[in-house]
């Protein structure tokens, strides 16, 4: 086989790709039973007869999951089917408790949508969405012996805690004509989906925990020859690379698959239509099941569940809860707030954008709001190992704090102390300022006394100031600030010092 680079492959062939994204919903319970939907519990402690597939058990759909799926579908511009239903996808596998997966097949709840994806240079690509459907996750196999992978393992262990966790699977239509930008579009598409599910609040969007997982389909077809339209060239055989679970890995997997397939094609060898496993360590893929006989899933309508028939009124109500598209919101806020690209990107990455927005809405200046959330609060969240949004302070309180600074009631340093009090549960910023006595000393007579005391203690400094070395006043300012435990307005102190020394400010 011929060795090719991605760039060479994309020059010689027209890539066609599609992505299936599985989004794990952050509902309190699983898709079809009341077991907690939480990551990281002891094995087989979040299981019940339903998600263990015990004889006699029956599924009942989680209302919140249906709601989340519809909201996601609406965000992707999908139509919501008047009557959709669940089906059984039958196949035997030890992590699949019932040996069938409850999924949606011929009548998915959300279908026919499209999503605008913004690339790094600002170009917008519209990706067609074929469907978004609900299904349940499988359990988790751990392989023992050998190298810890499935191949060469002596035996395996199964934990069903993840079994039955609600998923929405979003399937794109085939995406063509992206050429060398294929990998970038794929990455940006998944990033956009991740941003949307986070903005909707239906998933934590953590790819590293598997909350958002992608399967990447790719095929290559010959470039159209002169006089022929590219649309008339049939698609090539595709590979489906499973479980590509980071944005970088999506790009890498496409690079690898494109190069691999191009190498085969140029050597006159066929590309096999198959599923492939992604290997993060080597950046390569290997074939999935050795059996090439196509699986026959024997789909049929799930008889234990009833059709999902959302009323028009309910769909419209849900539509009303859809937040602004994250990319649009970013562009708008960047403009409104005068943020740099970096400011916006950092805020997005820190999950701070909506917190900043809420703080601005509560009256703070955008830069001040950004400074609090991306500075002091980001550090605190980091130290406490919690999400920014779960810190015990509200955007309204941050705005109140900044208001106190703006009014000169406190200075920046006192504001940090006040924030500390708020985070410690001592009350609102105003209450903390009051109870801790953090207010700036604005009574001139008190300041004058403190200045006089400091000048008396350091006569040499007074001499220097009177000599014209005005910057020497800094030492006295420091002493006064110390004496007033930081509660003095440094600017005012400086004015008083210069007055007392008889020098013009």
């Amino acid at each position: 086989m011929t060795t090719m680079t991605y760039e060479q492959a994309m020059e010689q062939f027209d890539p066609v790709f599609g992505i299936e994204v599985h989004v794990e919903l952050n509902t309190a319970t699983k898709m079809f039973c009341g077991c907690a939907n939480e990551f990281g519990a002891e094995p087989n402690t979040q299981v019940c007869p339903v998600c263990l597939g015990l004889p006699g058990s029956m599924p009942v759909t989680n209302q919140k999951a249906v709601e989340s799926a519809i909201r996601l579908g609406l965000s992707l511009g999908c139509s919501i089917r008047e009557s959709s239903r669940f089906a059984r996808k039958n196949y035997f596998y030890p992590d699949l408790a019932k040996d069938y997966q409850i999924s949606q097949y011929d009548e998915p709840t959300c279908f026919e949508g499209s999503l605008d994806v913004v690339l790094d240079d600002g170009e917008v690509v519209t990706v067609g969405i074929e469907r978004a459907h609900m299904e349940e996750d499988a359990g988790k196999n751990t392989h023992k012996g050998g190298t810890g992978g499935i191949q060469g393992a002596d035996y395996s262990l199964v934990d069903y805690n993840r079994g039955g966790v609600p998923l929405v699977e979003i399937v794109t239509k085939p995406i063509t004509g992206m050429g060398a930008r294929t990998a970038e579009v794929a990455r940006a598409y998944v990033a956009t989906i991740r941003d949307i599910v986070k903005a909707l609040g239906i998933s934590d969007g953590r790819m590293e925990q598997g909350s958002v997982r992608a399967d990447v389909n790719l095929s290559l077809r010959p470039r159209a020859v002169a006089g022929e339209s590219q649309d008339d060239v049939p698609f090539g055989k595709r590979s489906e690379t499973k479980n590509v679970n980071s944005l970088r890995a999506i790009e890498r997997a496409i690079h690898h698959e494109a190069a691999r397939q191009a190498g085969l094609l140029l050597a006159g060898q066929p590309v096999i239509q198959e599923t492939r496993h992604w290997h993060e360590d080597t950046g390569s893929t290997t074939p999935g099941r050795s059996k090439e006989e196509a699986e026959d899933y024997r789909y049929f309508p799930e008889p234990d569940l009833l059709p999902v028939e959302p009323s028009r009124a309910w769909v419209e109500e849900l539509r009303g809860t859809i937040p602004e598209h994250p990319a649009k919101m970013r562009a708008r806020l960047k403009e409104e707030w005068g943020f740099s690209d970096t400011d916006i990107r950092d805020a997005v990455n820190a999950d701070a954008l909506s917190l900043i927005a809420d703080t601005v809405a509560a009256g703070a200046a955008p830069q001040a709001a950004r400074k609090w959330w991306m500075g002091e609060l980001a550090r605190t969240a980091n130290d406490r190992e919690v999400a920014l949004a779960s810190l015990p302070v509200t955007p309204a309180q941050v705005a109140e704090l900044q208001g106190l600074v703006d009014a000169g009631t406190i200075n920046d340093k006192l504001a940090r102390q006040a924030l500390e009090g708020v985070l410690a549960g001592e009350g609102s910023p105003r209450e903390v300022v009051e109870s801790r006595g953090l207010e700036v000393v604005s009574d001139d007579s008190a300041l004058e006394a403190a200045v006089d005391e400091a000048l008396a203690a350091q006569p040499d400094v007074l001499a220097k100031i009177q000599d014209g070395k005005v910057q020497a006043a800094g030492a006295i300012v420091g002493a006064v600030m110390k004496a007033t435990r930081g509660q003095a307005d440094a600017g005012r102190v400086r004015e008083i010092i210069l007055q007392r020394a008889g020098v013009e400010g």
């Binding site: 007869p49 004889p55 006699g56 058990s57 029956m58 039958n90 019932k98 395996s156 789909y299 049929f300």
Partner: protein, 504 residues
């Protein structure tokens, strides 16, 4: 206390009344049934598991509660037999299959819970065709149950254990499950009463699924009134079963009471033309006709109705059932519970386990269902069968325009001999020709005894069908007919069964 009375011959309603009146205790009742089981079940083999200690413990608690003046549910203290299709914590549950031998479920079915809440001692788990696939209980992984009327004959199926336990006076009440007639057909061939409620009327949660869109649990008893009491215990909405009806439990007991008053004036009874004639035994038709005469005598108007699509019901049923079953039975894979025949890989282990754990009938139906659902055949088989289902529902809808209830013989013949049809699945399937349409349409049905076929001295069943949600009608008409027949017979039909030999 009076002279030793054989309490096993009483009805459940009589037992409940006697306990209330202080004439008997639940412990005495329960012990009497356990003794009877010990005496006759060696021959009948109605039970797969006898829960002697558990039943007596419940009985003692009920007696103490009653002595303490506690308010108790109507059937508290009345013992009951439970088909092994229901999961029961603390008791093995096998669904008649070797693949589940020794399995003790970590949870209770909703109906199991209701039985416990109604404080009914559970005598044990009754035998059944493996995973309820069969009409004779010969397909049990644990050996056949025998018909107390003639131990050489089948007690019906799949609920042959439940029906035989009633006919053998081992239990006054039993739970059944009816996918294509598995409550009504065993009732018919053992001279007992069985009711399949409207689909969704009783929760299926914890009933080991055969065909999810057809399965329905229901009461088995020796009288219509007893069945009514049990129906009210079992029924009602269950949030654990999405297909459960969210509506009040039908007033079965009141309806039965009303029926016994014997006035059916204004009631239209429709005789289904397609469920007679070819294949129907002479004595079966004779007793059926006599039942119709009784109904007329009570004031009912008898009309003939036609349900032409019934000719396709059996075929549709034997596509829908195996298809759903092939999927429902996939979970028996050796991973989480049940049998494991260990091989080098999971796949081989699954294949070997299922080969050893499942009997022939189960394998046949799984393969058939796998075929009917497989790529390229779905539309021709499963899809077409679901369309037939629509046609059958339309037939019923039209028939119920003309009649309040529909009637037919429950089974075309009296019980056949054990082994007679075991290698001829198609002949076996014909048993259910009259019961299957109700399951396809989801409507309720009852079988009650209508006499003994003169040619063989074996019991004959009379089937009544009502529109969906109208279960109470079955009890009204059934109780009226039953009373008229009992007046002729001088008591329940079961009393005419030959006495079983009692083990020393």
């Amino acid at each position: 206390m009076g002279a030793a009375r054989d309490w096993t011959r009483a009805t459940a309603a009589q037992m409940a009344a006697a306990m209330k009146a202080g004439e008997v205790t639940s412990v005495e009742l329960t012990q009497a049934h356990l003794d009877r089981i010990a005496a006759v079940d060696g021959d009948v083999h109605a039970f797969l598991h006898v829960n002697a200690e558990g039943a007596l413990a419940t009985a003692r608690e009920v007696d103490e509660a009653r002595a303490a003046g506690e308010e108790l549910p109507p059937l508290a203290g009345v013992p009951i037999a439970v088909k092994d299709v229901l999961v029961t914590q603390g008791m093995p549950t096998t669904a008649g299959s070797r693949i589940l031998e020794g399995w003790e479920p970590p949870y209770d079915a909703t109906v199991t819970r209701k039985i416990r809440e109604n404080r009914m001692p559970i005598l044990g788990k009754t035998n059944m065709d493996e995973f309820a696939m069969g009409s004779s209980t010969e397909h049990s992984g644990y050996g056949p149950t025998r018909n107390p009327w003639d131990l050489e004959r089948i007690p019906g199926g799949s609920g042959g254990g439940s029906s035989a336990s009633l006919a053998a006076w081992e239990a006054p009440l039993a739970i059944g499950s009816d996918t294509g007639g598995s409550i009504r057909q065993p009732a018919s061939v053992t001279g007992t009463v069985g009711v399949k409620p409207t689909y969704g009327g009783v929760s299926r949660y914890g009933a080991i699924a055969l065909a999810s869109s057809l399965d329905q649990l229901g009461p088995c008893a020796r009288t219509v009134e007893d069945a009514a009491y049990l129906h009210e215990v079992m029924g009602g909405h269950d949030p654990m079963d999405a297909t459960s009806l969210d509506e009040p439990v039908p007033s079965c007991v009141d309806a039965a009471r009303q029926g016994r008053e014997g006035d059916l004036a204004g009631v239209r009874v429709g005789v289904i033309k397609e469920l007679s004639g070819d294949g129907y035994q002479a004595g079966v038709e004779q007793r059926f006709e006599e039942g119709l005469e009784k109904l007329k005598a009570l004031g009912a108007e008898v009309v003939e109705v036609s349900c032409p699509s019934f000719d396709y019901a059996l075929a549709a049923y034997y596509l829908i059932l195996p298809s759903e079953a092939s999927s429902n039975l996939a979970k028996f894979d050796s991973v989480r519970f049940g049998l494991r025949v260990e091989k080098s890989t999971v796949e081989k282990t699954m294949g070997a386990t299922r080969a050893e754990g499942f009997g022939d009938e189960v394998k046949r139906r799984i393969i058939l269902g796998t075929y009917a659902l497989s790529a390229g055949y779905y539309d021709a088989y499963y899809g077409s069968a679901q369309k037939v289902r629509t046609l059958i529902q339309r037939d019923f809808a039209a028939a119920f325009e003309q009649a309040d209830v529909l009637v037919s013989p429950t089974t075309p013949t009296t019980p056949f001999k054990i082994g007679e049809r075991i290698d001829d699945p198609l002949a076996m399937y014909l048993n259910d020709v009259a019961t299957i349409p109700a399951n396809l349409a989801g409507i309720p049905g009852m079988s009650l005894p209508s006499g003994i076929a003169p040619e063989d001295g074996l019991p004959v069943g009379f089937q009544i069908l009502a529109p969906a949600h109208e279960d109470a009608r079955l009890y009204r008409i059934g109780a009226a007919l039953e009373k008229a027949l009992h007046d002729d017979w001088g008591g329940a039909l079961a009393a005419q069964a030959p006495e079983l030999e009692v083990a020393p």
